[in-house]
Amino acid sequence: MKTKFTTDTKLESEIAYFENINLKLESGDIIDSFKLAFKTYGKLNADKTNAILVCHALTGDQYVAGNNPITGREGWWSRIVGPNKPIDTNKFFVICSNVLGGCAGSTGPKELQNGSDVAYGGNFPSVTIKDMVKAQSLLIESLNIEKLFSVIGGSMGAMQALQWAIDFPDKILNIIHIAGALKHSAQNIAFHEVGRQAIMSDPIWKNGKYFENNEVPERGLSVARMIAHITYLSEDAMHRKFGRKLQSRDIISFGFDADFQVESYLRYQGKSFVERFDANSYLYLTRAMDYFDHDETFRKNIEFSHNPNNHLKYLIVSFTSDWLFPTIESKMIVNQLNSLSREVSFLEIDTDKGHDSFLLEEPQLDDVIKGFLTNNFAKIDE
């Protein structure tokens, strides 16, 4: 394997180049060379036993902590990852990479095709969660880390963590799987489809070739984001946050302005998303989530795997008000692991914040992540 590392000074991110590697994708397509943008936090210890891979969700990136140069804001999980935080970077070496198909520096539809000066756009091959994890495993290998202590993620990140447990159990010790599922449900696929249709029906999208005219299908992408954002909240949280409060006015306008605060909020979410995310990437990554399905196969994969996986520990967390990845989906994983009498912990956290809870202030989430990591790490040190 030929790997080369550079630093993208503009993005303040490390880039790992995998050249002439012929990465075979689940679809059968082959990517001959690719790159992954990643960030690391903390220090790898001498025995290389303290590495944790954090997997980001659909619209996340490698900037899990610290400053994110793309948005100018704090990293997406800086509440959880950092010195003395639940994933303590004084103790652990944390790696987070932008997924294959993403748009924060890794190979994806917005990047140039190998050996050409044209971006992939719609010519990018379909990628799956399995493909993303395969690419991550090559990154970990090229960092000379034989075994990850933990793989952690929420939502699409949880899908990746589960895929690690299936494909590379011998290279990890535990996973923390938050607000995820064995499969993407029909309802979730339906919401994604509406989002994709919004993008593809934007006349600027032009079969994914909008970049040729330096344009962005802003309307489509922002509508897709607005729809998705609703699914990340809960009715209670929306009611608590907005109710029927009016935005910058005392009376309704009898028109179609953003009379209500909730409308104004969604419009803002859509608008700011367009500035940081690529429309084609959104199509590819939502599709990757749709294709995720271990409903029938998870138990068999774990039970009959060629790779030893008896040692794996699982922490599964769900949220009461998450209707996108409801508790029942997490419990299916727990049930299957219990039926194999594997070491699994499961907690349903009581909150009204919906699917987004894993990104928000939830003290109990902090406690279980910290405790699970600390105690299990103490055990390997013994």
Binding site: K313, N338, S339, S341, F346, E348, K370, N375
Partner: protein
């Protein structure tokens, strides 16, 4: 005995029933206190189920394998004989279907350990007899309308149920209200009268059951030498 001492006493007796290096499921494990004790003193591999979210979160944060769930709904997911011991401490009386739970315990575990407060204790009998009201005691401290304990039973009731279900009692320990410990199977008379709390080690082993002279209670031949 106060409640905490009584739980500690319960745990230390449960520990005496368990051999080294076993795989154990603790149902209603709280924050993992008993699991910790069995990991430290018996080198056990422990798993737990806890209904209360906060307690389950504590146990997980303390590093134990604990599933936040309801034993009456969630036990079916475990495979046959996947544990050496399944422990149900002080909760059988709070179950909707105690008989089903009992058979689940012995499906999942090779052995089950069940402990419960004896409703046949003389103080309870006396309270009901004299006051004519449902008894409220230290081990059953709730009023009738606000109690998690929905199935009251005595040692005699429990032994009859075990007999009916062909469950073998390998060992049984009784505690008086003063905390004095004795072997229920060896006691001659008045067991059901003086036992405040009882702890049983159960299995489905095909022992030839023998009858104890005092009553119709059924015990295994090896009840004394078990462990």
């Amino acid at each position: 005995m106060n409640k905490i001492n009584s739980i500690r006493k319960d745990w230390s007796l449960i520990e005496t029933l368990i051999t080294e290096d076993r795989k154990i499921l603790d149902i209603g494990c709280g924050d993992g206190g008993l699991m910790e004790q069995l990991e430290n003193n018996r080198n056990a591999i422990t798993h737990g189920i806890e209904l209360n979210r906060d307690l389950a979160a504590n146990a997980i944060a303390r590093g134990f394998n604990v599933v936040n769930g309801n034993a009456e709904l969630d036990l079916s997911q475990y495979s046959n004989n996947s544990f050496d011991y399944v422990i149900l401490s002080q909760t059988l009386q709070a179950m909707m279907k105690p008989k089903d739970i009992l058979s689940e315990l012995l499906r999942i575990g090779s052995k089950a350990i069940v402990s419960f407060p004896n409703f046949g204790h003389w103080k309870i009998r006396l309270q009901l007899l004299i006051s004519g009201k449902m008894p409220v005691t230290e081990s059953l401290p709730y009023t009738w309308y606000d109690t998690p304990n929905i199935h009251f039973f005595t040692i005699k009731d429990f032994l009859n149920l075990c007999n009916e279900m062909n469950i073998v009692i390998e060992k049984s320990i009784g505690l008086t209200s003063k905390g004095k410990q004795f072997d229920i199977s060896e006691s001659v008379t008045g067991v059901n009268f003086f036992t405040h709390e009882a702890i049983f080690l159960l299995s489905y082993k095909n022992f030839e059951p023998i009858k104890i002279k005092s009553s119709k209670k059924v015990f295994a031949k090896n009840s004394v030498i078990a462990n």
